[in-house]
């Protein structure tokens, strides 16, 4: 039996060799082939969409940061930045319209100030109720604080003539009650 190396293989003549050398090695591609493949590979989970988000973020920073070794740190930094911005935005949105923020504003209309007065009164009632619920109803501290606040409010209303005379009577009653209780240490 003849060894493999001894099998005679005829060589091409120069003309045929030239034809082989002239054969093209590239064929035109189907323009839609890549899109179909991308869809298929996404469906199989081999391509993930969120990568393009990270790529988009990294595209606006220096090109060196787009290198492989910087991609994860950049992605993590971008996520932390987004979280911080979201937290700040949420805190700002939550604070806007709060009682404390409304009290500091001087651009409110008369109607807004009436509503603010109602909200503050409701807040006082709610706070007093919850304080009483959280402690024994006989808690003298709660009684003292609630009374002093109410007295202060009554003075303010009376000073500004917002009470049609009712506050004067109420102040007199509360003043008598307050003088009988022990003083409150304000802090």
């Amino acid at each position: 039996m003849r060894p493999d190396n001894d099998i005679p293989i005829p060589d091409y003549d120069a003309e045929l060799r030239a034809l082989f050398d002239a054969l093209p090695h590239d064929a035109p591609t189907d323009p839609g082939a890549a899109e179909r493949l991308v869809v298929r590979l996404r469906h199989e989970g081999l391509l993930v969409r969120h990568r393009s988000v990270i790529a988009s973020i990294s595209s606006v920073i220096p090109s060196a940061a787009r290198d492989l070794q910087f991609r994860w740190p950049v992605g993590i930094a971008a996520v932390l930045l987004l979280v911080a911005l979201g937290a700040w935005g949420g805190w700002t949105a939550g604070r806007r319209g709060s009682l404390e923020e409304m009290l500091t504003r001087n651009d409110l209309t008369v109607g807004d100030r009436v509503l603010l007065l109602q909200r503050a009164g409701s807040a006082y009632v709610t706070a007093a109720q919850s304080y009483a619920n959280a402690t024994a109803r006989t808690d003298t501290t709660a009684i003292e604080v609630a009374s002093r606040v109410l007295l202060g409010a009554a003075h303010a209303v009376a000073r500004n003539h917002l009470d049609a005379g009712i506050a004067e009577q109420l102040t007199t009653v509360l003043q008598q009650s307050a003088t009988r209780s022990r003083p409150t240490v304000w802090f």
Binding site: P10, P24, L46, S59
Partner: protein
């Protein structure tokens, strides 16, 4: 060009690693870079079965994508991809194992009776029996060695050489006789 598209300077190995991380731009870069040559290889291997071309190329890319984690960079990515293409294309040539090595009766003659052209050679290659065509394309067009062809096709080295010998005889006869008949 898009900012997200890797430049041509990015090595294939880097693009493969990025693709394994799920990067679509990396996949598109690999696809754009290697599909023209891959498509021509598959087209030649298929011969007259050109209706299989699009499916074979797509199946090659899907198989390469699924197996990309196994690519270690030991060989060029183009070589690794071509090996997958050959394996998939051979599955689509049902008569490959049954062909007896004889040239088809309707192998074309050189056009217009003149000297053979590249087009004539392409037509003659397409008309070869499938197993001869595969060996000729891999050896004479793509530059594979007989050892590589034997490993790729699962045949003996001697079989690869014998097949190439018969294929070259057939090609030369087809192209020469065409010219002779015309003159």
């Amino acid at each position: 060009m898009s900012l997200h598209r890797p430049s041509a300077a990015v090595p294939d190995e880097t693009l493969v690693r990025r693709f394994l991380d799920g990067s679509e731009p990396a996949f598109r870069a690999l696809h754009d870079r290697h599909t023209p040559r891959l498509r021509m290889l598959v087209r030649r291997l298929l011969g007259r079965h050109q209706h299989e071309l699009d499916d074979a190329v797509q199946e090659t890319w899907i198989a390469a994508s699924r197996g990309a984690h196994a690519y270690r960079g030991d060989a060029a990515f183009a070589t690794w991809l071509a090996a997958i293409a050959v394996r998939i294309t051979l599955k689509r040539l049902p008569r490959l194992r049954r062909d007896d090595g004889e040239l088809s009766d309707d192998i074309p003659s050189p056009s217009d009776g003149g000297p053979a052209t590249v087009i004539d050679l392409e037509r003659a290659l397409a008309a070869l029996p499938a197993h001869q065509r595969v060996v000729v394309v891999l050896h004479d067009v793509e530059g594979y060695t007989h050892d590589e062809i034997a490993e790729q096709l699962g045949i003996a080295v001697g079989t690869s050489k014998a097949t190439l010998s018969r294929a070259r005889h057939a090609l030369r006869r087809a192209l020469t006789e065409g010219v002779t008949n015309a003159t």
